[in-house]
Subunit: 199 residues, 2 copies
């Protein structure tokens, strides 16, 4: 398993795999991996020759008062889990690599971004569409796998991939739940035992 | 020389060329080709193994009161010129193929789109960035060639390609002028002899 931090190197690896006739599956994440993410990786693993996952806590999808700074991180733990799932490459760019000085290009999916999570979080879906476009352009996947836990996000990526002629199959996987029924989420870490019980 | 009308076929051809190690140069146009376009094609021809041009009068970059309906067209004449310049494929999708029912994804390059041509024509550069992203995703070029006549457009595409991690070299070529000094443009057809002289 390799860890790739530069956009140029990621693209070169992807071109090389494609040049040798390999198919690429891609699971984008913000890290702090749980069983939900791992189920997406297994699906990707079963569909393609090469499995890439990305770990990038994307600032452009957080609003000004959201939890960007305290979003949980554990790169070493994530690396071990990826290795167990047979990931070939972790794409792990820095914020400066992704959004250098002068950055100014954004992707919007208009109607799907309204309502539900989009109503309260106006920049959220623009950030998701933008970062996924950038990740897709570097990783060049044939298939990408998303969780249906974030249903609106999955629909948005499907729409975007079709509208933008990306030629990427966007697979949605069922929500994975804890034994007590709570949907798995990296943000469950924020819950106190009492909050957790109510959730 | 082939003419490709479907997005899926274009992408398949591009994958096939890339799979055989060929480099692809791409010149997007709205047709009604003149010597300016042909100079871009010659540059593309000299740089890559395969030369693709597109002919698509893109509705999303015209404002409501602009000249979309009367924009000049001459596909047969364009085809003959492309053949002479050694074009391998003309990508010639329909408006319905590019913007089907339910289409809703747009690319914006924020600061470069303001001022100059962007001030008067608010949707213009969003349309240009969007259609170029779609064309690039289907043609998968290594190099794309634009005219510096449309200077702001060239800068916008360079910025977009960098911001979106497209891995495409965006080459700009000097403006080609008529013998009387007027910059060549398909829209010069609109000028009366007197207007032409003043221009």
């Amino acid at each position: 398993m390799i860890v790739v931090k530069s956009i140029g190197e990621m693209r070169k690896r992807a071109d090389d795999w494609r040049g040798r006739g390999k198919t690429i599956a891609f699971v984008p994440t913000m890290g702090f991996l749980h069983e939900g993410h791992l189920s997406l990786m297994r699906e990707g693993r079963s569909r393609c020759d090469v499995l890439v996952t990305s770990i990038f806590v994307n600032p452009t999808q957080f609003g000004p008062n959201e939890d960007l700074d305290k979003y949980p991180r554990d790169f070493e733990g994530d690396e071990a889990k990826c290795r167990t799932e047979g990931v070939d490459a972790i794409y792990y760019p820095s914020v400066d690599e992704m959004y250098p000085e002068g950055y100014q290009t954004y992707v919007t999916v208009e109607r799907i971004s309204l309502g539900l999570c989009g109503g309260d979080r106006p920049v959220h879906f623009r950030g998701v569409a933008t970062v996924c476009t950038k990740l897709f352009n570097a990783v060049k996947p044939h298939v990408t796998v998303f969780g249906q836990k974030d249903y609106q996000q999955w629909q948005l990526i499907r729409r975007m991939a079709a509208d933008m002629d990306m030629g990427i199959e966007v697979v949605g996987m069922p929500t994975v739940r804890e034994s007590d029924g709570l949907a798995m989420s990296s943000r469950n870490k924020y819950l106190s035992p009492d909050e957790r019980k109510r959730a």
